[in-house]
Symmetry: D2
Amino acid sequence: MIYFEDNLRVRYYETDKMGIVHHSNYIRFFECARLSFMEKMGFGIEKFEEAGIVLPIVEIKCNYKYPTTVGEKLRVTVEIQELPKARFKLHQNIYNEKGVLCASGYVVSAFMNTKTNRVQSCPEEFYKILEEEFKKG
Amino acid sequence: MIYFEDNLRVRYYETDKMGIVHHSNYIRFFECARLSFMEKMGFGIEKFEEAGIVLPIVEIKCNYKYPTTVGEKLRVTVEIQELPKARFKLHQNIYNEKGVLCASGYVVSAFMNTKTNRVQSCPEEFYKILEEEFKKG
Amino acid sequence: MIYFEDNLRVRYYETDKMGIVHHSNYIRFFECARLSFMEKMGFGIEKFEEAGIVLPIVEIKCNYKYPTTVGEKLRVTVEIQELPKARFKLHQNIYNEKGVLCASGYVVSAFMNTKTNRVQSCPEEFYKILEEEFKKG
Amino acid sequence: MIYFEDNLRVRYYETDKMGIVHHSNYIRFFECARLSFMEKMGFGIEKFEEAGIVLPIVEIKCNYKYPTTVGEKLRVTVEIQELPKARFKLHQNIYNEKGVLCASGYVVSAFMNTKTNRVQSCPEEFYKILEEEFKKG
């Protein structure tokens, strides 16, 4: 298993009329942590772009458990339970400062070659990095 | 079953660097259609607010099947397969102009009383409207 | 002068904790009307892209006069007072259903050639269309 | 003069089809820095809310000078050149990591009493804090 966490702070415009963060924004918070994770692995979004690969999302699920609002410091986690093949699944949670689980879900992305416009398997270099990390975890 | 559909057009800022609509925006498109649906039922968001009830989202799932981009006219559907009790589940699809299914998912919301800050069951008046609609469908 | 108007409806996620539309969204509403305007002129965003031209924003100003909230139908206007040269200035207003002026501002964009990555003057074909329209107005 | 700066990182969803940050997001970045500034002054958004005051935006201006994209670390500055009366004006700049000025503008907000729904002058306590800070600067 690979585990990573990132931190972010809720912005004013992310709240809605209910006074809490709009549910669509948790999907965005998930993404923020994913990109930080990939960068930490030494294979950030720029490297993917250089390799001519983008990671379109194919599936997303989120359970909303506890509301958050402007100013709160959130901890967004990334957990990889199996190495990616054609699809890359990441389990993600969001906790508030008191450690309360606010949202829990997963995101599945594909690897798409921007030259051929077709999906492909996980780039070998990225796979090896994750494999190495898995051994540590 | 209750079926409803709404139309919207993809805006420029809804696209991202990949040139396509950012996945978080489909979650927002789903919401647009839900609000139109509730208004069509004669029980829009203002009526819920007057009744002191908000509908926080408790679960969301979306499968992304085909990309969309700026200017496209999308058809967003709402399908209710069972009458709401404590939770209100809506199945939602997004189609492009050619009829291609672009996204498919569901959204579950609760009914929360803003005075007590507690969840409650579906307001009776709204339930009856849906029940009536169910008979037609 | 060229005058155009577009309509849109405030979405739930566009509101914030104050219960009203977040100020940044008016900037987005302005853009929606601009794109509709250009399309109406027969020179929409796709035509600009085909011509290898994008329209980055160089200046924006907005005065907020009256709040709006979810469900409101807004009328967003575009007014062109002079033909574009290197820069393209559009005056824009937003009115609510009662005709109250809610926001008023302007947007200036440049024309940037995506091959050279340099700004250029207004594409001739688009200029002629506007010139023709000016005569009518 | 009072000077403050905040840092943030461009998120993926903040980019658009042009590959750069959508212009409306700079308006949001400005807000992030303003809220950090007010918190640093010991009078954050929660304190305003406790005092029954919100700060609706009445005017905004922004000049876009240089594009930014996902992953970039931005420095967002806040500069107060005169103490607020009925209106509170903040000058704001955004710089990229190389120190290039990417956006420059100002934001004017009012102080609105949420009980009376009327604008009022700057709350005395907040004014005194700013006055004190001015002397230092």
